[in-house]
Symmetry: C2
Subunit: 319 residues, 2 copies
């Protein structure tokens, strides 16, 4: 039970014509600030506003048509919800999405506009797994996990596949970590196409479960805490993703909320990209030096841009 570069290539074939081949951008100012040659894979420009469509569409496509025709169920703070709703729509089925009550309104509006049914829960008092288990049992529909699944990992890996195809080998690849699906898929691709690449993960300072788990040598949990990185609020690494990441990651570093906002400013000014806090975690780690890549040729995934004008104003201008 593992994921190979061939699985990622098969996912890329499934996604052909569905996902956008997002651009790789660079900026002289950014290079100077980081002290490295930085290649930015812009998944904030992906359809659905984040890399998540890659995994969700790959997974839902893999469910036999007769089974998925009655609908699918998912749980997400936002971007996976959008991706599942969009995938369901594109594949001619429906989605029911379990969403934390405090998820960003802009994301929920998009999910609703895509025709999905929304069920809310309180992520501070209710256990996510228990709530989703009850919903899946009640509806009797296939569940589309956000990260802990081979098809999801293979799908997410297609972002790095495009990156390496476009730019060749890299000294390091820096990737945001939540449940670990994106970086697991990225590492599988790096190992195959650019074996010398150091894989560096980035988590919010308050929710560094993968960093702690790597140190402990086993999956440990951190408490649910408030962070503006709403897409990176997983409390423990995935059972499928963690062993892969344990093999592949050099290390995981952390960034604070203020550093995320500063990275959003840099993305706006220097790259003309609209990004969300979770989306710039890896960029923030380059800017602070937490991910030390001086003098190197480094790839970074900017993973999402679903922030909305209202939230952007509050985060960036403090209004």
């Amino acid at each position: 039970m593992t994921v190979t570069i061939d699985d990622v290539r098969r996912a890329a074939a499934v996604l052909d014509g569905v996902t956008v081949r997002t651009p790789v951008l660079r900026s002289d100012v950014l290079d100077e600030r980081v002290g490295a040659s930085v290649l930015v894979k812009c998944e904030c420009l992906q359809r659905g506003g984040a890399f998540k469509l890659r995994g969700a569409f790959t997974k839902i496509s893999s469910i036999p048509e007769a089974e998925r025709a009655r609908g699918v169920v998912a749980v997400s703070s936002g971007n996976h919800a959008i991706a599942v709703a969009l995938s369901a729509k594109l594949l001619g089925t429906t989605a029911t999405i379990l969403v934390p009550e405090d998820a960003p309104a802009a994301k929920i509006d998009v999910v609703r506009s895509l025709g999905a049914e929304i069920v809310t829960f309180d992520r501070f008092t209710e256990d996510r797994d228990t709530v989703i288990g009850a919903l899946v049992a009640e509806r009797g529909l296939p569940f589309v996990p956000p990260y802990d699944d081979e098809a999801i990992i293979a799908g997410q890996g297609t972002a790095a596949l495009e990156l390496f195809e476009d730019v060749g080998t890299l000294d390091a690849l820096v990737v945001p970590v939540s449940g670990g699906g994106l970086i697991a898929g990225s590492g599988i691709v790096a190992a195959a196409l650019s074996p010398g690449t150091r894989m560096i993960g980035v988590e919010p300072a308050t929710m560094d479960d993968t960093r702690r788990s790597l140190e402990a040598g086993e999956r440990v949990a951190v408490p649910m805490t408030a962070t503006i990185a709403d897409g990176l609020t997983v409390t423990t690494p995935g059972a499928v993703t963690f062993p892969i990441n344990q093999r592949q990651l050099e290390r995981v570093v952390t960034v604070t909320d203020e550093q995320l906002v500063q990275a959003m400013r840099v993305a706006f000014e220097e790259l003309h990209l609209v990004t969300e806090p979770s989306g710039v975690a890896a960029l923030a780690a380059l800017l602070t030096g937490a991910a030390d890549v001086r003098g190197e040729r480094v790839g970074v995934i900017v993973s999402g841009g679903n922030v909305g004008l209202e939230r952007f104003r509050s985060l960036v201008y403090g209004d």
Copy 2:
């Protein structure tokens, strides 16, 4: 004395490895709002933040090395200034740029950081051509015109060349118009690669010199008026660009400042692009219906994103 598709292809070869092959994005929400299939060529993601590097680098490259080695001179409200300063730096020479006193500070800061010398003038009381003539005479250096030049037109045409290569034929292509270099180059490419494409230009409502000139059948001037579209403040069409545009354009439509801001909002929310007012003129014309393309497959060039956080705040949030 004309510009051909072969000139544009030669410019593309000169620009290879210098400019970014910018992505073409689409959005389901945008398609629905416009009632068309809209393909967005993102020149706001171009190096230097606008399409202008294409023309400036092509032009400066075409000046014999011995001549350009002592430096070049240009006049610009911002994006052409950045493009000339960046081109000069990349080609190992220097640039002196004449800039209106009221040009956006964010743009001038970038020009200065690229090592160019800045000379200011008052665009409401001083005649641009007179001031630049005096500067060119004084310095004895080659002048890099912003639009009214065959090499510049060929260079700007490479944006449309990439667009048609990527998406095939289009029913219409909607392009912002200032001096008319970008749309002239775009029309040359369309005529060669997608002959049925209707070329639609877009100007600010208060500075519609190309629209009026097309109606009059000759180049007419409009007064210099205030508009937030600082990159589209040319008062009369170019002597070189106008005859080309007269042959190629179906028509020119106009948009107001408020419509430009609204288009910036849509670019932010739906495409995750940071854009400047001048850059979204064509997108604004699609959103208002001024450019009627219902049911069609239409290309639109978003031409620049050099807005800066401070000006974005003032324009979009009214702070």
